[in-house]
């Protein structure tokens, strides 16, 4: 309800009625109302403080994870920028073998990106993620990424954060509800620290893990994300993942170029996700013994790509995104890199190597963006072209098209670039990519992966776009005239007979409403109260009211206690728009199911 009027009106308004019910339940459990209040307040406060600690621990874990990845790279691939061909092939191959043994025998839950595992913790396992998973993810992902597998550190960081949060929650013996919420809180912290972008992390967790904007958790998610970023920056500095070149949009006509980028990015996203969708189950259905070899073979092929002239596809590749943004590559080479990175990431991911999809998605987007921009500029030289702008927009495009997180994709680019002039091209291009991806690949990648894993996790995209039934969809017009509180019972009785309906609505002072039903009217008439004003008779019979735009579920809270609930106008609470009863609600839901 949320109405001020309601809170003042009487104890019969919905919000207070709910609190009554809660108070009753708590009283039954032996707590006084004050005790209940303090209990709730303290738990909320403690949860917020705990979020800060989760952020700190996640930030520290992500810092260690980054160190581990760099150390793996140094010891497996070498310290130079130009690596020996043998190392390029052997390092990812041998790392693949080791990772296969680890993920099959020691850390089976460490496979995959980590986003779905976090969602599963939220929706299936009451926030429980075994601590072993974080250890496995940490070791296997750092070795894989360091050795050159085409994966990123963000999704594993997300899972490590969620696992730490889960472990802390378990030690704190939090309630089941709180435990469930902890996983996204930790996930946001892990992702924020890995990506050095707290806003994008919060948005991604809300958009892709929680699926709804819930005030109860938003504060905790933000606090944990911010604290983890602060911790991470104190160790690794505040530089963004790539140096952002000057970004500009000179003429509105250049938006056409970004539309084209959005379209191409949409198709690339579909190709990428279709590839994963098609190859992953096939790889999994291969004989069991091949699971030991799949990461190694993937690593060897990636090494081969590197030896053949594209070492840029190895690892997360942030330094190359940086170079692409600064125009270090020709557009033809950028296009080749985008294609090869899709291939390399497909190989790494479908082979079951643990690691994230964020960095490869951004890499493909950056390369594709700069390539498309470069090609457009070559064809139409009057189009202003800066590789950095197109690369940044390309990142957003792939994020929207492949990860299907449209809000995050826009804010991620804004946060990373720190430049708001880019917002229009990003929105335009992302919209094209998102629409194309949705049309050609109805199931988003994370949902696809969870279904392949045999989990039926809620689809955030479906949740976002779910049609919500509202009160106005089920309400009925008032069966007769609305009676005033000054009207006598005689008049009410007469009107009831005239309208030949079982009840009539009565307007009470101070925006209150009551219902005069036939049975009650008969009884009062028999008692000889025909001359009484209805207001006097119905003083204690206030009915909660609802608004036409409220979700239909809201009505369900009242219709078991009151046969009919008035639907009033938000601009004039004394104006009755209609009435709604339990039957109306159920009938509407029945019809909705068949639609």
């Amino acid at each position: 309800m949320g109405s001020i009027q309601n809170s003042h009106a009487s104890a019969h308004t919905p919000a207070l009625a709910e609190k009554d019910a809660q108070a009753q339940a708590e009283s039954a459990a032996g707590l006084s109302p004050a005790g209940v209040f303090w209990s709730v307040f303290r738990e909320d406060r403690f949860f917020l403080v705990l979020s800060v600690f989760i952020g700190i621990f996640s930030g520290l874990a992500v810092v260690c994870f980054r160190f581990a990845i760099d150390w793996s790279r140094i010891y497996l691939l070498g310290t130079g920028a130009e690596l020996s061909p043998w190392r390029l092939i052997l390092a990812p191959t041998l790392a693949g073998l080791a990772i296969a043994v680890l993920t099959i025998h020691v850390f089976p839950a460490a496979r995959g990106s980590g986003v779905n595992q976090t969602k599963a913790a939220l929706y299936i396992y009451d926030g429980y993620i075994p601590f072993k998973t974080a250890i496995g993810k940490f070791i296997a992902s750092s070795v894989a990424i360091g050795a050159g597998h085409s994966l990123g550190p963000e999704d594993p960081s997300l899972q490590i954060g969620a696992t730490l949060a889960s472990a802390i929650g378990r030690r704190m013996k939090l309630s089941r509800d709180r435990m469930r919420l902890l996983a996204p809180v930790g996930a946001a912290a892990g992702l924020a620290a890995a990506f050095n972008a707290p806003i994008s992390a919060v948005l991604f967790v809300i958009e892709e893990v929680i699926g709804r904007w819930t005030a109860g958790i938003l504060g905790s998610v933000v606090l944990s994300a911010v604290s983890s970023v602060v911790v991470m920056r104190s160790f690794l500095g505040s530089e963004s993942l790539f140096r952002i070149p000057p970004v500009e949009l000179r003429r509105p006509s250049e938006l056409i170029a970004y539309c084209i980028l959005g379209i191409i990015g949409g198709f690339a996203s579909v190709a990428f996700s279709s590839g994963i969708g098609a190859l992953r189950p096939r790889c999994r259905n291969l004989p069991q013994w091949t699971l030991y070899l799949q990461p190694a073979v993937a690593g060897m092929l990636i090494g081969l790509i590197a030896v053949l002239g594209a070492p840029q596809v190895m690892g997360a590749g942030y330094e190359y995104m940086d170079e692409a943004m600064h125009g270090q590559f020709t557009w033809q080479f950028l296009a080749i890199l985008a294609v090869l990175k899709i291939l390399a990431t497909l190989l790494s991911f479908v082979s079951g190597t643990p690691g994230g999809m964020f960095a490869p998605t951004l890499f493909i987007g950056a390369m594709l963006g700069a390539a498309v921009g470069g090609a457009e500029h070559a064809l139409l030289p009057h189009f202003h072209y800066t590789a950095g702008t197109y690369a940044l927009v390309g990142m957003g495009v792939l994020f929207a098209g492949f990860l299907r997180a449209p809000m995050t994709s826009v804010f991620m680019v804004l946060e990373v670039s720190g430049n708001y002039t880019i917002i229009v091209p990003v929105i335009v291009a992302n919209t094209f990519a998102y629409v194309i991806s949705r049309a050609l690949q109805p199931v988003p990648i994370f949902d696809l992966l969870s279904r392949q894993d045999g989990l039926d996790l809620p689809s955030m995209e479906e949740l976002r776009e779910e049609d919500v039934l509202r009160v106005e969809d089920a309400m009925q017009p008032s069966p007769g005239p609305v009676l005033e509180c000054d009207d006598s019972l005689d008049r009410g009785f007469l009107e009831l007979e005239k309208a030949s309906c079982p009840f009539l609505m009565v307007r009470l002072p101070a925006n209150g409403w009551a219902c005069l039903d036939q049975k009650q009217a008969d009884a009062w008439m028999k008692e000889g109260r025909g001359g009484y004003a209805l207001g006097t008779l119905l003083t204690d019979a206030h009915i909660p009211y609802v608004y036409p735009d409220q979700p239909l579920d809201t009505v369900l809270r009242y219709v078991d206690r009151w046969p009919v609930v008035p639907v009033v106008n938000r601009a004039n609470l004394r104006k009755l728009d209609g009435v709604i009863s339990q039957r109306d609600v159920l009938a509407r839901y029945r019809d909705f199911g068949g639609e």
């Binding site: 600690f53 310290t79 920028a81 940086d322």
Partner: protein
């Protein structure tokens, strides 16, 4: 049982918020300390690797091994991503390989970070100059001249100005080049090499007076400097101050006998001094002798250059030079010259005309002819 009861106690304890918060704080502090240690180790290693690769890159850059320097600087940047000097080194190595477009993107970023940096501006100027972007090049050169240079490299601003002058001379923008040179001369030190370079550039403007001044300033520090001596001699020679030229050139040639150009100039300067019959306070006998030598040389020149011999100067009696020479020849004797003092002027006018025409039509003259030409120039307008 004991373990179990302990666990129960501890969990009960943890449920009490202050204790839980204290435990978490303690754990966070310990974790912080651990990660701090790890971070120090990590950064120390990263710094060491960055230094190692950048040192290699720098060595290769200085040695002109740009192909090796590029991956070395790139490797250094893997460990210190935003290091200004490593990026600059990489850009310079790229410039060395003429990968200017790539270098430019690095430099423009570095410029964004430190627009006052001299090296970055200078490299940007060079790239713009190479790409024919004159305005941009001039702007960047000026930025570099007035930029901040690292301690011990302040002289590079002067060096940049020299480079700018060279660039302007290449563009034939002599006026701009001269004004830059004048500023340079005002601020330049007495360093011999610098003053010599300044003098050479003034010569190219050409501003021989300032060139001579610069060479003299150089010689005031190192009087034996061959380049300065040669420059001063040449500048004096170009100014027509042959006595001074002779002095400097003689000194230069004695120290560098292999310098044939200076040798030639010296010979000509001496001949000019020796042959000039119009120079003040010359004894009459020597003057007559010089006139006769010059006249004979002009006759030889006419014989060697028949095209010039047929030239008839406007305003004359339409006779060609050979005829004029032949007509005048009988009078050019010691007695004839003594009798008619105007004959010296008439004879020398004809000599100068012959030499000018012959040099125009028949190219480089002999040493004597060159000297006569210079004498002609010396007395032009008298």
């Amino acid at each position: 049982m004991a373990t179990r009861s302990y666990r129960l106690d501890s969990s009960r304890l943890l449920r009490r918020e202050p204790v839980a918060l204290a435990v978490l704080t303690l754990a966070a502090i310990l974790a912080f300390l651990f990660v701090t240690g790890l971070s120090r180790m990590f950064h120390a290693q990263q710094d060491a690797l960055a230094q190692r690769w950048s040192a290699r890159g720098l060595t290769d850059l200085k040695a002109g091994r740009y192909t090796d320097a590029i991956p070395e600087f790139r490797a250094a940047l893997l460990y210190t991503r935003d290091d200004f000097d490593f990026r600059l080194g990489l850009a310079q190595a790229l410039i060395g390989l003429h990968r200017n477009a790539e270098a430019f993107t690095y430099l423009i970023n570095l410029w964004g970070r430190r627009p006052e940096n001299g090296v970055v501006n200078l490299e940007l100027a060079r790239i713009a100059a190479e790409q024919g972007q004159t305005e941009q090049a001039l702007r960047s050169y000026h930025n570099a001249i007035y930029a901040n240079w690292p301690a011990g490299q302040e002289g590079r601003a002067t060096e940049t100005r020299f480079e700018l002058v060279e660039y302007l001379l290449k563009l034939q923008a002599r006026t701009q080049a001269e004004s830059e040179l004048i500023s340079l001369a005002a601020s330049a030190s007495d360093d011999t090499a610098q003053q010599t370079r300044l003098g050479s550039l003034f010569q190219r403007i050409p501003d021989y007076e300032r060139a001579l001044a610069a060479f003299r300033r150089a010689l005031s520090v190192h009087p034996q400097d061959v380049a300065a001596l040669t420059g001063a001699g040449t500048a004096a020679y170009d100014l027509g101050r042959y006595a001074i030229a002779e002095r400097y050139l003689q000194e230069a040639v004695s120290r560098n006998p292999g310098d044939y150009i200076s040798n030639d100039r010296l010979r000509i300067a001496r001949l000019v001094l020796q042959l000039d019959p119009l120079r003040p306070r010359i004894p009459a006998a020597e003057r007559d002798r010089n006139v006769m030598t010059a006249f004979a040389a002009a006759g030889d020149r006419l014989k060697a250059c028949p095209v010039a011999a047929t030239y008839a100067a406007a305003g004359t009696s339409k006779q060609d030079l050979a005829a004029q020479w032949a007509k005048l020849k009988p009078q050019i004797t010691p007695s004839g010259l003594r009798r008619d003092p105007d004959l010296v002027t008439t004879a020398m006018d004809l000599v100068f005309t012959v030499e000018r025409q012959a040099s125009e039509w028949c190219g480089t003259p002999t040493t004597t002819d060159s000297a006569l030409l210079l004498i002609a120039k010396l007395h032009e307008g008298n």
